[in-house]
Symmetry: C2
Subunit: 97 residues, 2 copies
């Protein structure tokens, strides 16, 4: 699997922008999770990445928004630090509810 960080820059001042963010969030969350309001960590195969990229390009407004896709290093705990509100959940570990 390929681990990606997807950052989506969109103005949420307009309803149209908020709608695009919701759409992008839905696309990304199908393959991972929302770690910040417009930042997503996803895991995909090469084939899924093709479809994901295509769907993101359709959902965004390329004249107004920006999407960056970073290939992440593994293991996550070694290469990511987070402070403050942390939305990330490690689903590969047992969940204590």
């Amino acid at each position: 699997m390929i681990d990606l960080l997807i950052t989506y820059d969109v103005s949420t001042l307009t309803e149209a922008g908020r709608k695009r963010l919701r759409r992008v969030a839905r696309i990304c969350v199908a393959h991972g999770q929302r770690v910040q309001n417009s930042v997503f960590e996803v895991s995909v195969t090469e084939v899924q990445l093709l479809a994901l990229r295509e769907r993101l390009l359709q959902a965004m407004d390329v004249t107004e928004d920006s999407v960056c896709i970073y290939r992440l290093r593994q293991p996550r705990e070694k290469f990511v630090e987070s402070y403050g509100l942390d939305r990330y959940t490690d689903f590969s570990e047992p969940l204590i509810l």
Copy 2:
């Protein structure tokens, strides 16, 4: 040098939030560039990282905001794709003005 992606999640609905974003942007831009409104790519030494982390923690509101620091892979062109508005400038290449 260590290449980092810093994502900052803050509500910009309040003036206090916008002020924190400006402060975080100033801290990050001292070591790199703003690629999206609240996403920064920076390059630092281990010692600079200590100071950067400390300054970010002071600037953010840990009860309301979120900061993630990802160690990026190199070379950038192989591991990052961007679509739409692209603010990134490769300062290691000759600039054509």
